[in-house]
Subunit: 250 residues, 2 copies
DNA sequence: AACATTTTGTAACAGTTTGTAAGGTTTTCC
DNA sequence: GGAAAACCTTACAAACTGTTACAAAATGTT
């Protein structure tokens, strides 16, 4: 896939790789070949990978610094991954994924019950491994949603405090109005069909008769139109609505 | 694109099972036999399982109430699980696990990239499924571990002395008020439904009529509002309440 | 044990928000 | 121009929420 960069050789202790990446990952794996493969793969994805080949190095590494995620083999020369997790569980604040050739349901259940966040059976496709890693980082990194606010022209929306502003002036909205505006702001200047809005707002399929969306748009529109040079909801006959910035009077 | 008209078969809407269990799980699965199996299995483990057989029922169920976890099939009669996740991702605050016969790496990666927390390939051992469910509930349910104190903006709470402070000034609270504030502080800036609060505070299922939570919120709110630039409980009509920091008037 | 104080739940009332219905208004198409 | 379709808005009832008032329960004190 990619040319072999640097031989990882035989790292006696945890050694840090990669370009001071986005995530710090600790890899516990005694199979050197596999480890090298994983280290290279993750480094390419801008991860700072620390590699430990046995339980002793693993302990040192864990004590030495914090990680965003740990990938751990179960069968090791000097210890069991299960034991290690049991021992360090209380000290770990990041997700741990087991990566093992032990494929029985019992082993998997054991690993998960011990507190592991996932259990992958070797051999694992690198892309799947990466998707799993991203999934776990995603959930552990963002206790509060990252996209806590969004803006579109003079409109800004804070999803946390649920406050909308137009030209930095607070725009008091009811719950439903805010929800609707948020949906528009997610895909601004884009046509959103009544069917789509109905599904998002009401939560079931549009029956073709209900006027709820019309009504909500009307009410939201009234408030938006009250502020000049802000944003406005445009209706496209037979298609739906779209949120646009208002052309300043030319 | 256009809604597929599907002859409404049997369970018109989500049906609730089990003994008002510990966790509320939403199961989206069109294979009735498998679904029944899973429902029974989870019910035995004291889960309150809601079952949806198609996308339509799923949408209803998601809008109807909150869940602790969602298990979703990918291939459905009237929709794709991938589509549904894409559509509801922003509205879901709980983990979602795909459970599908589609076993290719591409499918798994797609599901995870869409935001799923896990992807299990059918057939899956029930015990493994349960271990996975527990693992995901474990990580999502305890955003705040057993810390003896917690802070959120100008608010700090000491669980040991049971004293709350706003901007370092002691805030005298009654027992119930403190308990409620603690629950809010565990998941600050996040919507907490009346159902959830009722369960946490009163300890049984919300009947839809009781106003106790309103009352307690009202009383706690009165004390919180007395301190400027502190924190405030915001109400989101039809959804619940959330604790937020107060924007000092800029 | 009896009283005072605090805390909490229920009921009732008031204000706000939302859905449905019905009638207007604009646009499209003969 | 006129009719039909699509859309907007007013009106009103129903639903939801906040708060006050008061009684019951819990707690503390003498």
């Amino acid at each position: 896939m990619t040319p072999v960069q640097h031989p990882v050789s035989k790292p006696s202790i945890a050694e840090t790789e990669s370009t001071s990446g986005n995530y710090r990952i600790l890899l516990l794996e005694d199979d050197e070949q596999l480890a090298e493969l994983i280290v290279r793969f993750l480094s390419e994805r801008h991860c700072e990978v620390t590699y430990a080949a046995n339980g002793r190095d693993f302990m040192k590494a864990v004590h030495h610094k914090d990680y965003d995620l740990i990938i751990a083999d179960v069968v090791l020369p000097d210890a069991s991954g299960f034991q290690l997790l049991e021992q360090f569980r209380s000290q770990l604040s990041c997700p741990l994924i087991f990566l093992s050739a032990l494929s029985s349901v019992d082993d998997q259940v054991t690993g998960l019950r011990l507190g592991a966040h996932d259990y992958l059976v070797k051999p694992v496709d690198p892309h799947l491994l990466w998707a799993k890693i991203e999934a776990h980082l995603r959930t552990s990194q963002s206790p509060t949603p990252a996209n806590a606010s969004m803006t579109f022209g003079p409109l800004s929306i804070d999803l946390v405090s649920r406050q909308a502003r137009v030209k930095d002036k607070p725009l008091p909205l009811t719950t439903n109005e805010f929800d609707l505006l948020q949906i528009f702001a997610e895909q601004p200047a884009r046509l959103l069909s009544r069917e789509y809005l109905f599904r998002r707002v009401i939560g079931r399929e549009f029956d073709g008769l209900d006027r709820v969306i019309d009504m909500r748009v009307s009410r939201l529109r009234k408030k938006l139109d009250a502020i000049p040079d802000g944003v406005a909801i445009q209706s496209i006959r037979g298609r739906g609505y779209s949120l646009n910035t208002v052309h300043g009077t030319p």
